[in-house]
Amino acid sequence: MSERGVVVAKPYERLSQEQVELVHQTSLDLLETPGILCYNEEAVALLEKAGATAKKTREGEHDAWWVSIPEKVVQKALDSAPTKVTLGARKPENQVVMDAEGSRVYFGTGSETNYWLEVEPETFVSKQDGREQVFPVTKKNRGSLEYLCRSAHLAEQLDNLDFFLRNVNVQDSDISGENKDVNVFFAALNYTTKPIVSGVADPEQLENVVAMAEIITGGREQLIKNPIVTFITSVIKSPLQIVDETADKLMAISKLGLPVIISTSPQGGSTAPIEEFGMAAQVNAETLAGIAINQLANPGAPVIYGAVPVRARMDDLHDMYGVPEFCHYNMICAQMARYYKVPCYSTAGVADAKVPGVQAAVEKMFTYTAVPSSAPDLIHYAFGLLDKTQTFCPEQAVLENHQIAMVKSLYRESGVEAGEAGRIKSMIEEVMNSPYRLYARFARKMLRRGEIFPGFPFEGDLEEEDQTLLAAHDKLKELEKQEPEHLSEDICKRIFEQIPGLLPRLNPYKK
């Protein structure tokens, strides 16, 4: 059993059982009327064969079908969807083992940011008293393969990070639509032994990515047992539309028997209702539609309920993450997934703030505290995301590694057990009869077991300056000195021989 992540004691339930059933029923009603607007003919055929009715229409330049999905189709899909799904890993001890009937939460990176935020200390001289002070200065750079490799390497070092979802959009001049996927997956696999999660930009590349993973695991059968790659498909375009090309990818991955996250990200106030009930009913219906297609393509294939509901910002309609509505949406989705006994992929930790600082810390800690309380299986978008999901900052990721440690400590079991009462009473009695009445002696065991949280470690020791980011920068430099645990030379050699499109500069053994 995996020891990674954290078991949330008594997950928070925002909805009563009646309310859960009400959301469920409303979603079912929506799937029948108005139904979904599906742009993929094969998916329509699968749904029709299972009992849905479809009516062809024309949306702009594209064929589309209004598909009315009856309850029995959804129920059949939910019946065949597995309760337990494993995200494999190069190192078996790093596997993420999800059980929708349990309450273990895992934390990972996310998004595909266009920018990487560098932090550098710089010395300034005060105009007031001529005193020299060091402040962090930030600079935004375009995402690149090098940054992706550094991210994956950092992911390996951060002890509270459980899975690596490619976090940087690679925009190198030698990267194109045709070679992006293989290089992204290789970079990630070569720099971390934790589970890898990513979308596939080019459907043609799915085969090559899977072949690469098979070389690493030793074949298809071994890959199915230890799926070191997990895919995300944003198959839904909210509201309630199935995207043509992504549906192809979803069905192909399903047929391969590899884990896939059905990701839908409606925005409350623009592409979904802003009120919780409306959002919950729609995002749930969208996810159920995705699960139905996945399970119809291959019943029993590992699938993850991937709801990523966000709220619209009212002044510019951008996504907004650090707000209570975002937490409400996500907590309800976690509850719905548990109701269906399907592992849940959720979201926390994104800052709307553009740079690390007080605003970012408030927004991040707010969602980190709220969303995991409802115990979704996966929390993505954790570690380093700023400016909605546009920027990744590695120092911020280092800070969040410890914020997540705090959250993990927050949700552990209380330890209030009948068998402990005698020990507690005798401890208090002993202390009451001692000269100084101090419990310090009895704190040592918990301290040694790591059950006493040591505090956020980036405070610094200057009384008049905030050194948090500078301290995180120092820690990052220390972590980056660790040697990467690359794939073996033999594996790399075979991958570079057999997989087209890989850039030789990524080969760590190339002279």
Binding site: A440, R441, R444
Partner: protein, 233 residues
Amino acid sequence: MLKEELIKRIVENVLQGRRNKDDEGIEEDYVGEPGVAELVQEALDNGIDTNTILLEALSKGMKQVGEKYETGEYFIPDMLTAAEAVEAGMKVMEPHLASAGESERKGKVIMATVEKDLHDIGKNLVSIMLKGAGFNVVDLGIDVPAARIAEAAEQEKADLVGLSALLNTTMVNMEDVVKELENKGLRDKVKVIIGGAPTSDDFAAEIGADGYGKDAFAAIRVAENLLQSGGKN
């Protein structure tokens, strides 16, 4: 048991923070094994002199505890329990020390939280740590009037008075203690150190105290420095 083995086990039990056989250690499987009190008694029974026990076992153990604290291996609870273990050993040695004229003790300290202040955690930590460091500590408790503190300093022939206050409204009473000591003509014989959240180096200087400890460890260092620099009678 050989002398070397006994000394080694006393050091080990100081590190484990075990006063006696009933105490747990930091590690498992210690309950029932002799603690510092039993081992010191055994050492005395075997003719090991108090100076050797103090320097080679108890003080050496506390020094190692301090080193572990500095490197981050040990925390405050470990320091306190180790100090308690040393104090348990000192109690066993007490009759022998008295006959030896207390020459092995670093000095006598009166500890008190000043009048109208009921807070004792900080004062207790300093008391425990001072005992662990080899001082003879007389702890008067909380809410102690200035006159009583000065009286105790005179009666006990104290080398040092340690004052604690947590409140802005009570810290001013520390100055009364300094004045009382002056009135009794003791000020040149008794050093005064202060501590507590609202106090500071500046405040110590303002009221005529000799030192300020920002935490329990600083207090021990200040006490040692003051007495080594000629404060001891």
